[in-house]
């Protein structure tokens, strides 16, 4: 464990709650964050898959991007703000329906991924011309700098990382959160609404990063903390640390920026071509479009894949992948999957070796261990479609 001084670390509004619940705290993305609670990573992981886990993600970068002229009614305002952000990301943002959210990637001029983020079109008729965007905590300074520089004079960025952003994930999430926001039970995966509780407005989105059904909720520091306290009083809900967040997302086949995604990796290589919708493939107009469109047509040289070690030894990030004694790739995330009850990993391999079932060797501590390319995710997603 890194012996980082906690004094220079930022704290989320929920920090006192983590301490109260006995969290083991570590430095993460510049914040003092819970890596696990006394139950431990494995139990927290399994709890989330069967009950409801509550994750503090206030260290992430929620923000609002608004037309310089302000929000207004009508589809035109949405098209204007969407056109601005589409110069930076390859997804069809114009085509979002009111209240719809979409995963996308921020690209550099070479088509490499600078971050992955969720962009939501507000549902509310009077908030058109605004986008709700959540970027990764460790990348928020970079991302917000890019937005402000690229869209100066055209759009205004308002950070919203001074409040509480939490995720409630798992099969019990709907019934638990529905007690406070009855409307949230009507939302489908990747739909979002502003909902009011006791006079306080929250942004409630049906999404998450565990493979389970669930919600992400943004609120003010005070109202968000009060709501989290109420939720944690529910016997179905337990606080979950970053350790289980990592094993949950890995089993769900979801990428972690800085590990599975990096500035030299394109969305096609990352097997995220699905974030580039038809219109954008036809018209381009995003950074690195030449490379990305070429890779879409000819296939990428390397590809992100699931990796299933066939023995019990986990293969961690950085483990080399071999086929017939020749290096063909690298593990970018690896560990133990408590729900799969086996080691699981993902990484990049040469396109020729990327088919599920391909036999590979993982070099763990100098020994070749058998593994095979696996279909992602390792557990079936349980999103509410």
């Amino acid at each position: 464990m890194a012996e980082t001084s906690t004094e220079t670390l930022r704290r989320t509004a929920l920090h006192p709650l983590h301490v109260e619940y006995g969290a083991k705290l570590v430095a993460f993305a510049g914040y003092d964050m819970p890596v696990q609670f006394p139950a431990g990573v494995k139990e927290e992981h399994l709890w989330t898959r069967t009950q409801a886990g509550l994750f503090d993600v206030s260290h992430m970068g929620p923000c609002f991007l608004t037309l310089a002229g302000g929000t207004r009614r009508g589809a035109e305002a949405h098209e204007e703000i969407a056109a601005l952000i589409e110069t930076l990301v390859p997804s069809d943002i114009k085509g979002l329906k009111p209240g719809q959210a979409r995963l996308t990637v921020l690209l550099n001029d070479e088509g490499g991924i600078l971050d992955d983020l969720i962009i939501t079109r507000p549902y509310e008729e009077d908030r058109q011309g605004e986008l709700y965007i959540v970027v990764n905590g460790a990348m928020k300074a970079q991302d917000w700098g890019i937005f402000e520089t690229a869209l100066a004079g055209k759009a205004v960025l308002t950070r919203a990382d001074d409040g509480v952003l939490f995720a409630l994930q798992g099969p019990k999430a709907e019934i638990v959160l529905g007690a406070y926001f009855p409307e949230c039970t009507g939302l489908k995966f990747m739909e979002s609404r502003r909902l009011v509780l006791d006079g306080e407005t929250f942004v409630v989105s049906r999404c998450g990063y565990t493979g389970e059904d669930g919600f992400e909720v943004l609120g003010s520091a005070a109202a968000g903390t009060a709501l989290v306290r109420l939720l944690l009083d529910d016997p179905c809900v337990r606080p979950i640390g970053l350790g289980a967040r990592d094993s949950l997302r890995l089993e769900a086949g979801l990428c972690l920026y800085g590990h599975d995604l990096a500035p030299d990796i394109s969305p096609v290589e990352a097997d995220l071509a699905w974030v580039i919708q038809k219109r954008r493939r036809e018209t381009g107009g995003f950074p690195g479009a030449a490379r990305i469109l070429r890779e879409l047509k000819d296939g990428p040289a390397r590809k992100r894949v699931g990796i299933q070690p066939l023995e019990r030894a986990p293969a961690r990030e950085g483990t080399e992948v071999y086929v017939d004694g020749a290096p063909v790739g690298l593990v970018t995330s690896g560990g133990f999957g408590p729900s799969v009850d086996a080691p699981v990993a993902m990484g990049y391999v040469a396109a020729a070796q990327a088919a599920p079932g391909t036999k590979i060797d993982l070099m763990v501590r100098g020994k070749a261990r058998p593994a095979e390319i696996a279909q992602l995710p390792f557990i079936p997603a349980r999103y509410k479609r």
């Binding site: 494995k42 350790g243 990592d246 030894a313 986990p314 961690r316 133990f336």
Partner: protein, 123 residues
């Protein structure tokens, strides 16, 4: 039989010039759920401080260091099938290896139970 402890949280229970080695309950608690243990081969030789085994939790892999120099007489292969035993019974059932000590005088460098308890308290 006397049990000695290292600052890296291994224990060794010594009987004459043989010893049983494992990781301490404190270490197991810090690691969290153990999901994999990699043990050396019988006959392998180690110098004091060499990494001779690996214990992996959901989160991370950690090396286990030889508390003394010696040769491996026996490994606890039950841990390969049931690594979770390390979380449950670190200082008894979940021993890692039995070793033949190369130099029993190395034991004087290790902590006794009271000293180790005080050492953990200060962490």
């Amino acid at each position: 039989m006397t049990t000695y402890y290292t600052k890296d949280h291994e224990w060794i229970r010594v009987d004459g010039d043989t010893g049983t080695v494992g990781i301490t309950a404190y270490a197991a608690g810090q690691l969290g759920d153990v999901v994999y243990v990699e043990l050396p081969e019988t006959g392998a030789k180690f110098a004091r401080g060499d990494d001779f085994a690996v214990v992996e939790s959901v989160k991370a892999a950690s090396d286990v260091y030889a508390p003394v120099s010696g040769a491996v007489l026996e490994v606890n292969s039950a841990l390969t099938e049931a690594p979770e035993k390390v979380s449950e019974a670190a200082e008894s059932e979940a021993w890692f290896v039995r070793v033949k000590l190369a130099d029993t005088s190395e034991l004087s460098e290790l902590m006794d139970e009271a000293a180790y308890a005080a050492f953990c308290k200060g962490l």
